[in-house]
């Protein structure tokens, strides 16, 4: 697959001698020597200084070596991944997430994943932040996506992303043109909020217990998709992170305005796995894919 020059070059640099390297590599020194000469001719510059005792890297040589080692190393990793995939291609993964993430980002990530592991089925359920944390901790869920509030000791955070809260409003709303708002600024507007089925408080109340102004809530719902419709219908404004509304914001129908409020603007979303259970290749890859999708987003403005 890769030219054997990579290995040759690496070994010569390691040994400081063409002949010694050739011995280690089980080939004739002629072959190694000529490969190096050929590359030097190709580059138009020496990669080794010749000394009576052998060879030593030039400055340019070490740059090239860095590239070669990086390539070899990356190939090694890729190769292992492929080998694992070849053998291990069936199974099932459970993902539990806060509902906002289930829109936009997750479908895209799952699509990418299922191209690599077409025979691994995936289940996605939405839950409240604490419940996500709990089911990951007890091992009933493979991968969790949740706010990083109270970290459970049995949970490991694979990757995290800052996701400040802000106001979600229609583009023609009076506050849509502002760069930031405070809780006080929005006190006069009606709020659309999501609560879970059992009617417990939302994450916002957990963080901001003593709110300056009482917020008047107009619509309660247990599904983000309903909240979204309500906001689009001008039934009120939302108090969320940007992540569940990416599509509408990009399309221009909704706007996100950062909120200046201690505790809500340094919120973080994390990718969670059990600290006590192992990570097989498929799980690893799903984490990679979701993590990458998370990192790609701009959630702060």
């Amino acid at each position: 697959m890769h030219s054997n020059f990579l290995k040759y070059f690496d070994e010569v640099a390691r040994q400081g001698s063409i002949r010694k390297a050739a011995t280690v590599l089980n080939v004739s020194s002629t072959s190694v020597n000529r490969k190096i000469l050929s590359i030097e001719k190709q580059l138009g510059v020496a990669v080794f200084d010749r000394t009576p005792e052998g060879v030593e890297l030039t400055g340019i040589g070490s740059i090239l070596l860095e590239h070669c080692r990086k390539t070899l190393h990356d190939y090694e990793r890729t190769r292992v991944l492929i080998d694992d995939l070849r053998d291990l291609r069936t199974g099932h993964l459970k993902v539990e997430t806060i509902d906002s993430v289930a829109f936009g980002i997750l479908p895209q990530a799952l699509h990418q994943f299922s191209q690599t592991f077409p025979d691994i089925s995936i289940s996605v359920t939405t839950a409240l932040p604490d419940d996500v944390m709990k089911s990951v901790a007890e091992g009933s869920t493979d991968i969790g996506i949740s706010f990083l509030l109270d970290l459970h000791p049995d949970v490991r955070v694979i990757s995290e992303k800052s996701a400040p809260f802000g106001i979600i409003v229609r583009s023609d709303h009076p506050v849509a043109e502002r760069n930031s708002v405070t809780i006080d600024d929005i006190a006069s507007y009606r709020l659309v909020r999501t609560l879970d089925a059992r009617g417990r408080n939302s994450i916002i109340d957990q963080v901001v217990s003593t709110i300056t102004s009482p917020l008047s809530t107009h619509v309660f719902t247990n599904a983000l998709i309903v909240a979204k419709q309500m906001i689009l219908d001008n039934q009120g404004i939302g108090l969320y992170t940007k992540i569940g509304f990416i599509d509408e914001i990009e399309a221009g129908s909704l706007k996100f305005i950062p909120l200046v409020q201690e505790g809500l603007n340094d919120m973080r979303i994390g990718l969670l796995v059990s600290a006590t259970h192992g990570i097989d290749p498929a799980k690893r890859h799903l984490c990679d894919v979701i993590g990458r999708a998370l990192r790609m987003m701009r959630l702060d403005s």
Copy 2:
């Protein structure tokens, strides 16, 4: 240098057809086809699904493709760097820095640089943050390292690093065991401070103009190395970022305790170049090397 499989594979994936790719690559389809078959045999798994219209990547194929593209891209970059180096290998670079950076991190970075550009001489001078900024702006210095206080419009920040201020004390000092301190906590201890030769105020006074408690200074010096000796001699405690004391802290003779003080714990150190002057390969590389060394450091605890 690299096997042509990389290009073949990349192009076939791009075109979705072996024959089309072969045309683009100016080789026979036989050759391309056989290379791919050979790799698939080597990996023991298909990288393309064959359809009546051509080929399309399998999951494993896209993983391999990612590796190949990464390799090709990195090679391209390496190649450009080498070509530049071959031609342009003499010259001089001026570096101006705040004194704390001149210890530990800079020597190491310069050593690495001079291995790549052995014939480029470097001068390093230390100066106050504002002076560094000024000489970079007016072009008399190629690369500056300084606190990011008042950004000059002609200065470009190549990379930056959070460097909060804290207390530097001997390991056996009373406050050495604390996790953090406030200005008030240290008001009773004598301070060792650095001032420039002309006796102007240090950076600390610029930021914290209204200090809660007047700090009693015991030793003034214009060289950080003197301050370091004074602290080691128990003549007082220091108020600095961690960066100039890395060696002693790792050796255990000094300790760094973060300071809780608005304006001083969100200080940032930046790598500065002129926004109006060009960046040649050597300068680029020196920036890379210093920037990498900067990022490697843990300055917050």
